[in-house]
């Protein structure tokens, strides 16, 4: 993890140099090239809704652009960017909770339940089952696969220690396996066949 963060910090040095020179637009352009995909994936993992994620990522990036001249370098750039993005996502989640409290029945109707999924569509079934997992399991599990199984990246994105990420991942997989077992879908051959 240390090496990963050190590499990221080294990579971001060019952005910091541009910022010190007062070239905010250039620094932001570099930052976009490097981080916009990651920030969008973080939003997708936390919100599980591409439209909401797009809005949240956009709002986060506008905030980042505004705050960029005030970035003091106390935290690494990636940590700072992820923190702003996470906060935007939390705001979006709170807003969605408020809205769904009002439109509870409509929201329920839009949710894809496990029972609605065609049994042959393993991917959709798995997604529906992941949706039933506790939020922190869901976030870690989703980001882990979005970020190409990089624990250090997930740890940085969620500001959680790597050890906790590993434990959460293990528990999330176990919980998912248990859900599959209850549906009689825990035989590896079944899964491997569909993967071929």
């Amino acid at each position: 993890m240390q090496a990963g963060w050190a590499d990221a910090a080294l990579e971001d040095r060019d952005i910091l140099d541009l910022l010190h020179k007062g070239a905010r637009d250039q620094a932001f352009a570099q930052l976009l090239d490097r981080y916009e995909h990651k920030l969008y994936r973080l939003c997708c993992a936390l919100l599980r809704d591409t439209t909401l994620a797009q809005d949240a990522a956009q709002e986060a990036l506008v905030r980042i652009w505004r705050a960029l001249p005030n970035y003091d370098g106390r935290a690494s750039l990636s940590t700072w960017l992820y923190a702003i993005t996470r906060n935007r996502c939390l705001t979006a989640m709170a807003r969605r909770r408020d809205e769904s409290a009002v439109l509870d029945s409509a929201a329920d109707a839009e949710q894809v339940s496990v029972e609605d999924v065609v049994p042959d569509d393993r991917s959709a079934l798995l997604n529906a089952l992941i949706g039933q997992l506790p939020q922190r399991y869901r976030h870690v599990l989703t980001l882990f696969y979005y970020e190409d199984r990089s624990i250090s990246e997930v740890a940085a994105m969620l500001a959680i220690p790597e050890g906790t990420i590993k434990t959460t991942l293990h528990r999330a997989r176990a919980a998912l396996m248990e859900k599959l077992r209850r549906r009689g879908l825990d035989t590896p051959s079944t899964w491997l066949e569909t993967n071929k």
């Binding site: 993890m1 990963g4 976009l32 916009e36 995909h37 969008y40 994936r41 997708c44 591409t50 994620a53 797009q54 990522a57 956009q58 709002e59 990036l61 506008v62 652009w65 505004r66 393993r122 991917s123 798995l126 997604n127 992941i130 599990l141 989703t142 696969y145 979005y146 970020e147 190409d148 199984r149 990089s150 624990i151 250090s152 990246e153 790597e162 991942l169 997989r173 998912l176 396996m177 599959l180 825990d186 035989t187 590896p188 051959s189 079944t190 899964w191 491997l192 569909t194 993967n195």
Partner: protein
């Protein structure tokens, strides 16, 4: 990034699940219009920021003007007070012989009464002006 292979310590079932999860949880691609929409949002934010800056500057300028006006007023008030006191002292010194000749032993009381009348008059005029009435002295 962590270089260890997370599938190393897994059994068959876990490995199969891992493969399925990798398939089900594919990283979403950034929407095509994302950059264009972001640029629009940034443009809007820039305009708003400039407008806010302009309003802020305007407010600061007004505040500075108000402050300097207030200071000027305080200096003028202080000047008026000092000048008035000095003028009153000079007037009393000049008029004292006439007062003594006219009022005799009651000259002090007469002077005090005249002082009080002038003071009340100035106070009344300033209160009337503050309340928006025309300056009564300007009527004459």
């Amino acid at each position: 990034m962590s270089n260890e292979d997370p599938t190393q310590s897994m059994d068959d079932a876990e490995r199969a699940l891992d493969a399925m999860l990798a398939q089900a949880l594919r990283a979403p691609a950034l929407p095509i219009m994302f950059r264009a929409q972001l640029n629009l949002a940034l443009k809007r934010a820039t305009t708003m920021e400039r407008e806010r800056q302009r309003l802020d500057d305007e407010y600061q300028q007004q505040l500075a003007e108000l402050e300097s006006g207030y200071l000027r007023l305080r200096y003028r008030t202080l000047g008026t007070l000092l000048g008035g006191t000095f003028a009153a002292g000079v007037a009393v010194a000049l008029l004292m012989p006439w007062f003594n000749a006219t009022f005799g032993a009651n000259a002090r009381f007469a002077l005090a009464i005249i002082g009080a009348v002038v003071g009340v008059g100035i106070g009344t005029v300033s209160w009337l002006r503050r309340l928006g009435y025309a300056n009564p002295l300007e009527m004459f």
